[in-house]
């Protein structure tokens, strides 16, 4: 700390005397794409010279002028960069100086400064020589494409698909087998129903790069199987940045639409959090919640009911456009005295970024359906039990703040980054509910429902990160400590459904239900500490590398649902069916006719609250070496000791039955020490071609929610999630991890200017996969439980091509295709229970077999892009198509058929143009969902027309953005 203070003082004095200009650059090994530490950057014939630091970067202060810069490094061909113009007080940036290993023919390479500036972005060469099969996108590429959030950026990565507009999956594997890290550390997902993190909360101006690893390596966490997506935030700007951007987006179906549904929120909704408008009234938590029979006076009951927000109905109000704005600035300063040698002077970098976004979405035809099979084997068509159809309005606010400082000497760097994301989503819906009494377990009714919801999420992350190069011993050390606190709250979910009968309109508990409200809260703490050490050495004269590291993770979650419903102390009488009149003072207890009071659905202790925590201690070793000049091998072994504990109780215990009820008090629900080997061979057939082979073992662990006693009712769809700890006649309550063996084979061909062609084949075997299973015993409501199902496997191939069309005719030089296709065959061996349940509903002409596709696994993922790039004009344009094949979403059972995701054909167009003399302004234009496809899931059964499980129409959106760098 002291030295940083001293450094700050020096910085101030140093700035005062700055009269020179600065050359900054990054030196990269052309073959491996890795940065070179300790290379010399000199201006021949002068005394100006310095050395690259641990990031491969150098900083050279020289008087204004035009120079030839020379880069030297042992065993590499020297490089002369001509025409480096240095202006007074400005930074001349050479981001991408690529050095080639020297050969007899090659002594000195001469290039121009202009050539260095425009050369390709580093990610592709990282990919070429990386030991892991990876793909990625850099901030420069994101900028070029004009992506606003990490989701849009991640979409461009090979094999990636997006679900619900915010979740990123790799190779079509479901959520369970994907993982997201931030700056290489675990952070909690904000949605308790998901394993992966939603990516739409990261504005792109905070992102340095996004890298997807498709196979496991010992230094990576073992709990991913499809892909590990890492988002690296920015740390050290190469030069002063001061960037502002604004954008608007227009969707003709959703915006300036006077039918838009909303409801009155709080004064701070526009900042993404609730100001207390939706807070739970204080007495509601109390054991002595005032009710007509709790001993409270009628006046106390009346006041208590009035302490709830009386707004129960959605209202129509014209929607506005989506709009966004962002600002980021940063710089680096050279500290120390001007008399010190350039390479020894420490540098301080800082960055700050803020972004704001508000989106309006209006879905004018939303469908949620419950369908059943007929008992008669000759009737194949499905029949409905409940259809909810209506409209839904959403307003989504996202605020992101990121600040960081980094301090760097030649061989040491320490950075501190703090990030805060705040997201508030307000939803209002109106639905007509048609329940068919002739369906099994249903009583039959028509209801009209108003649903008001608010979800606020926050994520606060701190990262302390150090890296050190120990020159003498050859070790490189990287350590990170990162605590994260995240919350996700749903304050005051309100559902008010009038049941309409032939004779009147009222609330019927046995039909549309009584008005209810729910408060849901989740908070999670993650703390990660890790250290990685790398030593480069030579094995039989060839480069080799040994890695080892230690990683400790602690995470803990608290979750609670509180449920309240309106009761009528006696009969009901309503002049209209306006939900906003329900809580009028004249209807509140003790006032007749409706005498409204609130009843608590929350026993104490609450069975719908739990606390879980987990620790994961990991250690690994890995060795990479060249066996021959063409064959490289990486062998690694990772050990993880994982313990998960749960505190919770079932309903029996909560209702006071301490004998038969079950309760866990911070007890272990999962404990295992696993070894994860990783075996990789990379054969470089030629300089441009690799053949890769790998075998790895990975794991997928049940989530906190899955290993719990939680019974979570979704108030809108009336679907219930049961934690796996509950036992059934065919389920013992012991949910275990899924262990996966992975085999990968890939051939890749690299061509100049980032062109690539690759073919991969992969095979995975799943031991005890977990899937969400429909509980057949329950026929009135829809209940699911996560269970280990029969063993599974999948086999797939993946094709990637990134190719300029210049080979057809030079006129097409600026056009390129960037496409990838993944085709997967997956198979689950059904348990006897599942097979028998399916067999019972076998239709005439149908043959039920005992295998099926894996839930969540898409059979096909296609990403196709056609890009036009004209650097001379500053134009970048692209047409992108993305689709995922029909995917099993919910495993059906007996009466209930399987539910599948229908392919969503997403076709998007983007165009951006740099403006101004220095090209420091940019304008971009985009059209999303050009085909105006719907996002739908369907019940599918033998020889039956598909019937909707859910269906929404995202519409077509046009957006325009403007950014300027000062």
């Amino acid at each position: 700390m002291k030295s940083i203070l001293a450094a700050l003082l020096c910085w101030i004095s140093a700035s005062a005397i700055a009269q020179n200009g600065t050359i900054r650059g990054t030196v990269i090994d052309d073959a491996s794409g890795e940065t070179i530490v300790g290379a010399y950057a000199i201006i021949p014939g002068t005394s100006y010279g310095t050395m690259t630091d641990l990031d491969g970067q150098f900083n050279l202060s020289v008087p204004p002028g035009t120079y030839t810069l020379q880069i030297n490094y042992i065993s590499y061909a020297s490089m002369s960069i001509e025409g480096v113009v240095v202006r007074f007080g400005e930074v001349t940036l050479l981001e991408n100086i690529r050095m080639k290993e020297s050969s007899v023919q090659l002594v000195t390479v001469v290039v121009t400064a202009e050539a260095v500036r425009t050369s390709e972005v580093a990610i592709l060469s990282m990919k070429k020589k990386s030991a892991v099969m990876m793909d990625g996108i850099s901030s420069a590429q994101i900028r070029k494409a004009g992506d606003a959030t990490a989701v849009e950026a991640a979409k461009r990565v090979t094999g990636v698909s997006i679900e619900d507009g915010k979740y990123v999956y790799v190779r079509g594997l479901g959520d369970r087998y994907s993982k997201t890290t931030l700056n290489q550390v675990d952070i909690p997902g904000l949605d308790p129903d998901r394993n992966s993190l939603q990516m739409d909360i990261f504005p792109t101006n905070l992102i340095d790069n996004i890298v997807v690893s498709k196979n496991f390596m010992a230094e990576l966490p073992a709990d991913f199987t499809g892909g590990l997506l890492n988002v690296e935030t920015k740390d050290f700007p190469e030069k002063k940045i001061f960037n502002v951007s604004i954008g608007v987006s227009f969707n003709p179906q959703m915006h300036f639409n006077s039918d838009f549904l909303t409801y009155e929120g709080g004064a701070t909704d526009f900042l993404g959090f609730d100001d207390g408008t939706r807070a739970l009234p204080g007495l509601a938590r109390s054991q002595a919640m005032p009710t007509p029979f709790s001993g409270a006076s009628p006046d106390e009951v009346n006041r208590f009911v009035r302490s709830f927000n009386p707004q129960l109905g959605a209202r129509r109000q014209m929607s506005f456009l989506d709009y966004s704005a962002g600002i980021s600035f940063g710089n680096q300063k050279v500290l120390g005295s001007d008399d010190d040698p350039e390479s020894t002077r420490p540098r301080l970098g800082y960055i700050f970024s803020a972004s704001y976004r508000t989106d309006y979405k209006f879905y004018d035809d939303v469908i949620y359906g419950e369908y059943q099979r007929e008992i008669d084997p000759d009737i194949t068509e499905l029949r409905y039990a409940t259809i909810q159809q209506g409209q839904l309005g959403e307003r989504n606010v996202l605020v992101g703040l990121l600040g960081g400082v980094a301090y760097k000497t030649q061989f040491n760097k320490i950075r501190l980054t703090a990030m805060r994301l705040q997201n508030g989503e307000s939803r209002a819906g109106q639905f007509r509910i048609d329940n068919d009494g002739a369906a099994v377990g249903q009583s039959g009714y028509i209801a009209e429902s108003d649903n008001l919801e608010y979800n606020q999420r926050s994520l606060s992350n701190l990262l302390l990160h150090g890296s050190h190069v120990l020159r003498d011993s050859g070790w490189e050390i990287d350590w990170r400590i990162s605590p994260t606190i995240s919350t996700s709250d749903d304050p005051d979910i309100r559902r008010t459904a009038f049941t309409l009968t032939a004779v009147d309109t009222s609330f019927i508990a046995g039909a549309g239900g009584n008005p209810s409200r729910i408060w849901r809260s989740l908070s999670e703490v993650n703390a990660v500490a890790k250290v990685d050490a790398v030593r480069n050495y030579r094995f039989r004269g060839r480069e080799a590398r040994f890695k080892t590291g230690f990683n400790q993770l602690y995470k803990a979650r608290e979750y609670e649902i509180l449920f309240f419903d309106i009761q009528f102390f006696g009969g009901q009488s309503w002049p209209t069916n306006d939900p906003n009149l329900v809580l009028s003072p004249e209807y509140i207890f003790p006032n007749s006719p409706n005498r409204i009071y609130y009843q608590s659905g929350n026993p104490n202790p609450n069975p719908n609250a739990y606390e879980s925590n987990a620790t994961n201690t990991a250690f690994y070793v890995s060795n990479e070496m060249n066996l021959t000049s063409r064959l490289r091998t990486v062998l690694g072994l990772r050990a993880e000791y994982f313990v998960q504990r749960h505190t919770g109780r079932d309903q029996r215990y909560a209702s006071g039955d301490f004998v038969n009820g079950r309760r866990l008090d911070n007890e272990k629900v999962l404990e295992a020490l696993d070894l994860f080997p990783s075996v990789n061979f990379i054969y470089s057939a030629t300089e441009e071609q690799n053949v890769r082979f790998s075998y790895t073992r990975t794991i997928a662990r049940p989530s906190f929610k899955e290993l719990s006693y939680a019974q979570i009712l979704d108030p809108i769809t009336n679907r219930i999630f049961n934690g796996s700890l509950f036992t059934y006649s065919d389920w013992d309550g012991n949910l275990t991890e899924t262990r996966i063996d992975n085999l990968d084979l890939r051939w890749e061909l690299f061509q100049e200017r980032g062109q690539i062609f690759s073919v991969s084949a992969f095979f995975k075997r799943f031991d005890n996969p977990i899937e969400l299973v429909r509980i057949p015993e329950q026929q009135t409501s829809t209940e699911f439980q996560p269970r280990n199902v029969g063993d599974g496997m999948l086999a797939g191939i993946e094709l990637e091509v990134r190719k300029s069309l210049g080979f057809i005719t030079p006129a097409l030089e600026n056009l390129s295709v960037n496409s990838n296709i993944t085709i997967v065959h997956s198979q689950i061996d059904m348990t006897d229970r599942e097979f028998n349940a399916r067999k019972l509903f076998e239709k005439t002409g149908q043959t039920v077999t005992n295998t099926r596709q894996m839930a969540g696994q898409s059979p096909v993922v296609v990403n196709a892009g056609l890009l036009y790039t004209a650097d001379s004009l500053g134009i970048e344009a692209g047409l992108f198509y993305n689709v995922k094949g029909r995917t099993l979403y919910i495993v059906g059972s007996g009466l209930y058929s399987d539910v599948f995701f229908e392919p969503f054909h997403s076709l998007n167009l983007s165009f951006s143009k740099k403006l101004g003399k220095n090209r420091n302004s940019a304008i971009d234009f985009r059209v999303n969902n050009i085909l105006a496809d719907r996002i739908e899931t369907f019940y599918q059964s033998f020889d039956a027309s598909p019937q909707p499980f859910s269906s929404i129409n995202p519409g077509r959106a046009f957006s325009i953005g403007f950014s300027h760098s000062f």
Binding site: I375, A529, P605, N666
Partner: protein, 400 residues
């Protein structure tokens, strides 16, 4: 190399410190609520033979189950009160398959299931005042209800009868005591006589409530007669298959349907009065499996509206329903109420009378008026045996 050893050690120390921050949870055990003397709070399932005596009031602290092999005997004149709650917090008395309830009251000393909000005392029973001293007969949803499950056949959703057990409505599937159905037609779940169930029907989720009296797969060895259900938020009595016969019934102010049958209940409902349900007066569904059986519903009177409460329709059957309806009189019919679906092949009507003008009879039937349904008529129930009920004592059955 030194640094290399020091750094991880520091990190481990930091992590251990973090991990030990692991919160000590202060989970408060539910504090026993102070109860009036003579009140016995029941919080645990009943696993051995137990008798509840009329000098006490029994307070249900949760969903109390009489487990298989156990018999709960309730003396005549005993009052049972369910604690308040909804959803997971709802209280109920559940008789699991193999368990028995012997609640054998008398016309002079009926057994009363009600809410803790009800101030009724044993002394009131002794004095012959069976109504609630403080709650209106329309107040519902204060607690769950009485659920009796047996091993008699049900027609559940399967094409060959292999799925012979399913989970009863209102009980989450995580409680396996909620399973019912089997192959023992003569199964005996005990005796329920002179029992009044009031103010229940707590909500579990939309369309998923607890009926006043739920009978799931209850066998013919069970005796159920002289039963009253008052102000239940869901249905009055609902049968899910089974073979039990039920007689001398009053369903008053049901929040949903009054008489609800599903899954081929193969029994008879004889002599009953239904007053002012909010849903269907009769919601009679057909088999859901290949097992086909039906019921007989006879000798009853339905008051279709009273005190501002109006039932949604008169009789609602599905296309595959199997039921013989005879000697039933509907009175206080209002405009809009109808007999639905008259074309179901398995449904027969004998001497069903609507208290409406003969010329208007057609407007109260959805479709052509079937044989057996006429205008006019008079009360069919024998109310003389129902005099013990709260409905009768408060004058609710006057004139029937």
């Amino acid at each position: 190399m030194n640094k290399l050893h020091v750094l991880p050690a520091m990190l481990i120390a930091a992590l251990v410190a973090l991990s030990s921050c692991n919160k000590d949870e202060e989970e408060t055990d539910p504090t026993p609520t102070p109860t009036p003397s003579g009140t016995v709070v029941v919080n645990q399932n009943i696993s051995q033979n137990t008798t509840w005596t009329s000098n006490n009031v029994y307070q249900l602290g949760g969903r109390i189950t009489v487990l298989s092999g156990a018999t709960l005997t309730i003396e005549p004149g005993t009052i049972i009160k369910g604690e308040a709650g909804t959803g997971a917090n709802a209280t109920a008395l559940l008789i699991a398959r193999g368990g028995k309830l012997v609640a054998d009251g008398t016309a002079e000393a009926p057994i009363i299931f009600t809410s803790v909000a009800d101030e009724i005392k044993p002394a009131d029973i002794d004095a012959g005042n069976f109504g609630s001293p403080n709650l209106d007969p329309t107040v519902n949803g204060l607690w769950g209800g009485v659920i009796i499950l047996g091993r008699a056949p049900i027609s559940a959703s399967s094409n060959n009868g292999d799925v012979s057990e399913v989970q009863i409505e209102g009980i989450p599937t995580s409680d396996s005591n909620g399973l019912y159905g089997g192959n023992e037609a003569a199964d005996n779940s005990g005796t329920i006589r002179y029992v009044s169930i009031r103010h229940g029907g707590a909500n579990i989720g939309a369309g998923n409530e607890i009926n006043g009296l739920t009978l799931g797969g209850v066998g013919s060895g069970t005796i159920i007669e002289h039963v009253e259900v008052v102000a239940n938020q869901d249905d009055g009595i609902e049968w899910f298959g089974g073979t039990v016969n039920v007689s001398n019934v009053v369903v008053w102010n049901a929040g949903d349907d009054a008489i609800d049958t599903d899954q081929s209940w193969d029994g008879t409902l004889n002599n009953f009065v239904v007053v002012a349900a909010t849903g269907h007066s009769f919601e009679l569904d057909g088999p859901e499996g290949s097992y086909q059986a039906g019921q007989t519903i006879q000798n009853g009177t339905v008051v279709a509206s009273a005190g501002g409460r109006v039932c949604e329709d008169l009789i609602n059957v599905d296309n595959n329903s199997i039921v013989d309806l005879s000697n039933i009189h509907f009175t206080a019919i209002v405009e809009g109420q109808r007999l639905n679906n008259v074309t179901a092949a398995g449904v027969t009507f004998t001497n069903i009378t609507f208290d409406v003008e003969p010329a208007n009879l057609g407007t109260y039937v959805n479709g052509a008026v079937p044989a057996g349904i006429t205008a006019g008529g008079s009360s069919q129930a024998n109310t003389s045996v129902l005099g013990w009920t709260w409905a009768a004592q408060s004058g609710g059955l006057d004139g029937l």
